[in-house]
Amino acid sequence: MTSQKQFSTFVLDDLYFGVEVLNVQEVIRYQDMTRVPLAPNVVQGLINLRGQIVTAIDLRRRLGLPERQGDVRPMNVVVRTTDGVVSLLVDEIGDVLEVDEADFERAPETISGAARALVTGVYKLKGRLLLALDVEQTAVLEGDVAAERRN
């Protein structure tokens, strides 16, 4: 029997992502947000999560994916990181899946730029690939800030 892990899954663009369930605090529908002027553009705003102020990160922008189309309202996947709680904005929420470590493979070289640094690897599921997102890295924006300054 190989080891099993549970992943909370979601969809972004046409990609299928997963975050280890242990890192997920909760999943909530779209919330009103307060914009933060001058903030890095991946920061969509601040949400009031029962009295706690949580930074919402647009995962599409963070991964360098095309902008969300139309009036589709993103969902919040609230994750815990060592730097506190962060909300990741995603297109659509999927099921919680149990995956097998045996199906894991390191991220293929072909995954493009920003995404590759944030994906620890892929799980080869039946019919589709699940990209395992590195929550810690996703919440760190220092690199982006530096990059923006350079431009």
Binding site: D32, M33, T34, A39, P40, T55, D83, L141
Partner: protein, 738 residues
């Protein structure tokens, strides 16, 4: 290591408190060796400690405190008089006990350090061996006791175990007699030890409650049910009182930090061979526990500095006609919702010239900048990193990491530091810090469709301009805008522009929030001013660390998140006061080392045949336009009627010997004002206002020009305003001199 017994834990906590008190009391006793009550209290403390040690089986502790107790008992019986040697011995004993206790705390057992030397020395002191009478002689009170002492001493040495014995028995009996002891059972009955973590949790909960209350109040505004409205009002009141109450539990007198200073000062003074008296006023001033923690180190540093660098050695002081004993004076008081702490010494003071030289040596400023800076601004350079004026690096201070750390620590909790000093008379360091950090009153303003909170501490006043005023009240010079607030030019900062938002403001109304940053004023233009609210400051996530203009965020009554503006940062970002030291941090090191004092704000203009001229903005009273038709002549001068008086106009072109350009209509005039007299300088065009530090190349070849400098990468002549006005309008100077 086994977990500590509850009894031992209790003992440790109690002993630490007792030892802190011992430190203080011993130093007090040294100053007044005949304070019997104090002596009795010290004796009791040591006695209790010794007793508990024996009970808990800490034999080494018991042995050490026993020797101390013997010494104290003889003093109490009037057989010995406390002097410096004994005090030092006893203080060392307190330190030794502390060390052992620390070992007990971490390992559960006493440490193995050898304290026999200390014990021997204390015994020696006890037998009076190293306490010759002459040493105590300088103190008049000691002289009286000295003969008595020498006579009794031999007998006392012999009987000393008995003395200790009897004293031990007598100890408990003393308790009801001493006034100090009387109070203690009362206090013990009514106080309670509470874990700080518990209080922090309570504080957070109260913060949440305040937010929920704000939300309910907002909701109530739409309700008509009387019972509900009544209940809300009660909730409102109770919440406010609860907030106040919980806040109070976290308040501690500043004495908690100060109580360590008498010992610090005494030890340091002894080491440096100085005589220093510490005075403390306002010990009871209370402030939040977190703030107490935050100011502990900076304050200690400043006090050490005062003794080490400030106070001169006794011989120097006497030579300067001061009393041999220096004074370090601590003062704390509340003012306007803030705590003020002043540390004053009557020492040598700081010589601005020395600071100037040092700053130039260390390439922190250029020689020209240093020469131009005011003495006060020069003094503030000591808060820059890597600065120390101590002649020699001593054990205590002078390593160049000091005042900048003090400043950083104080600023981290939203405070400010300033220094005043007079050479030969001493220095005063002024610290201002907020009362509490958790819940603060704030003004809510709207800009670009968003709501922002401005901490009330920064707020001075609100100005609203409507209709005609809105158009005329704001004056533009280049890109900069100003408002004349009671005759002074107030630099304006549009908040929307600073935050990259689009203002949604009705152009017929201008809202100016007058703010104070670094003791200077500026006006923040916002779209709308809402209400004041008690807000709970919450930190922003690490992802937003790069956005420095926000001090945090809060949740408003309607549940929305509002960002809290960091007024100082906004002022720096907008460069209202020139290149701030911190905003320049990330740029090249030379710029980073320029304090705000190096920079001046310059008014750039064209006129008198010169393309670029500059004068310091602070000399400018107003900028005006006059139609050519309004200009009259009087006594060979062009004059204009201005504010009920006749103001002479100065033709700059004629003065500088440039081409006489046909003046534009209307004419641009820079108005100078001095002691009720005004003079106007006619120029062709106002170019810009810049804040920049410049270095002047002197040139005496042209009258009316002080020299030239590079401003905005272009060579610019600096006008000698005083000379021009004096020359063109002699009566101006004559009148103002009169």
């Amino acid at each position: 290591m086994q977990p500590l017994d509850d009894v031992v834990k209790e003992f440790l906590v109690e002993s630490h408190e007792n030892l802190d008190r011992l430190d203080r009391e011993l130093v007090e006793l040294e100053q007044d060796p005949h304070d019997r009550e104090n002596l009795a209290s010290i004796f009791r403390t040591i006695h209790t400690l010794k007793g508990t040690c024996g009970f808990l089986g800490f034999s080494r502790l018991e042995a050490i405190s026993h020797v101390g107790e013997n010494l104290l008992s003889r003093m109490r019986d009037g057989l010995l008089v406390l002097d410096t040697a004994i005090t030092t011995g006893l203080l060392e004993m307190v330190d030794a006990i502390r060390q052992i206790l620390a070992a007990v705390e971490s390992t559960g057992a006493e440490n193995e350090t050898d304290y026999s030397a200390l014990v021997a020395r204390l015994n020696e002191l006890n037998s009076g061996g190293v306490m010759p009478a002459p040493k105590a002689a300088p103190e008049p009170s000691a002289v009286a006791d000295a003969p008595h002492d020498t006579v009794v001493a031999p007998a006392a040495v012999k009987s000393h175990p008995d003395v200790a014995e009897t004293v031990e028995h007598r100890g408990p009996d003393d308790r009801p007699v001493a006034g100090r002891e009387d109070r203690r059972p009362g206090v013990a009955d009514t106080t309670l030890r509470v874990d700080v973590g518990q209080l922090d949790k309570l504080m957070n909960l109260v913060g949440e409650l305040v937010l929920a209350r704000n939300q309910i109040i907002q909701f109530t505004a739409t309700q008509t049910d009387n019972a509900f409205v009544g209940a809300t009002q009660r909730l409102n009141l109770v919440t406010s009182e609860l907030q106040e109450g919980v806040m109070k539990t976290r308040m501690q007198p500043i004495d908690n930090v100060w109580s360590k200073f008498p010992r610090v000062v005494r030890d340091l003074a002894t080491t440096c061979g100085k005589q220093v008296r510490l005075e403390m006023v306002g010990k009871d001033t209370e402030l939040d526990k977190t703030i107490i923690e935050a100011i502990k180190d900076p304050l200690t540093h400043v006090v050490r500095n005062s003794v080490d660098h400030g106070i001169e050695p006794p011989d120097v002081r006497v030579a300067r006609g001061k009393p041999a004993e220096g004074v370090v004076h601590l003062r704390a008081f509340h003012e306007g919702g803030q705590i003020n702490i002043e540390i004053t010494d009557d020492g040598a003071g700081i010589d601005p010239e020395k600071v100037r030289r040092k700053a130039v040596d260390r390439a922190m400023v250029t020689a020209e900048q240093a020469a131009r800076m005011s003495d006060h601004d020069v003094l503030r350079l000591i808060f820059m990193p890597g600065f120390s004026t101590a002649e020699a690096i001593t054990n205590v201070s002078g390593r160049g990491v000091g005042m900048d750390v003090v400043r950083t620590n104080i600023e981290r909790i939203g405070g400010t530091v300033d220094i005043l000093s007079t050479v030969g008379e001493g220095s005063t360091l002024k610290i201002r810090i907020p009362l509490t950090l958790a819940i603060i009153p704030a003004l809510m303003v709207a800009t670009g469709g968003e709501v922002f909170a401005i901490p009330q501490v920064n707020l001075l006043e609100l100005v609203r301009l409507e209709g005609e005023q809105a158009r005329t009240g704001i004056e533009r010079i280049g890109n900069a805008t100003f408002h004349r607030l009671r005759g002074n030019l107030l630099p304006l900062v549009p908040l929307a522009k600073e935050l990259g938002l689009t203002s949604q403001c009705d152009p017929s109304v201008v809202n100016i929030v007058v703010l104070k940053a670094d003791d200077r004023q500026f006006g923040l233009m916002v779209d709308g001013v809402n209400d004041t609210e008690e807000i709970v400051v919450k930190p922003l996530g690490k992802q937003l660390k790069s956005v420095q203009v926000f001090a945090g965020a809060t949740i408003m009554g309607d549940g929305h998140v509002a960002l809290i503006l960091d007024v100082n940062r906004i002022a720096q970002q907008a460069r209202v006061f020139g290149v701030g030291e911190r905003s320049a941090k990330s740029t090249d090191s030379a710029a980073a080392k320029q304090g705000p004092a190096d920079t001046q704000t310059w008014l750039l203009f064209r006129g008198g045949g010169a393309d670029r001229l500059a004068i310091p903005l602070k000399l400018v009273a107003r900028l005006e336009e006059f139609a050519t038709a309004d200009i009259e002549r009087s006594g060979g001068h062009e004059v204009v009627q201005y504010r009920g008086e006749i103001m002479p106009l100065i033709n700059l072109g004629r003065f500088l010997g440039g081409d006489d350009v046909t003046p534009a209509d209307p004419r641009q005039v820079i108005v100078f004002s001095d002691k009720g007299h005004s003079a106007g300088l006619v120029v062709e065009q106002i170019l810009d206002i810049v804040s920049q530090s410049i270095s002047v190349t002197r040139s005496n070849s042209r009258a009316g020009v002080l020299g030239s400098a590079v401003i905005q990468q272009r060579v610019t002549d600096l006008l000698d305003v005083a000379a021009i006005v004096r020359h063109a309008v002699p009566e101006f100077q004559a009148d103002s001199a009169a």
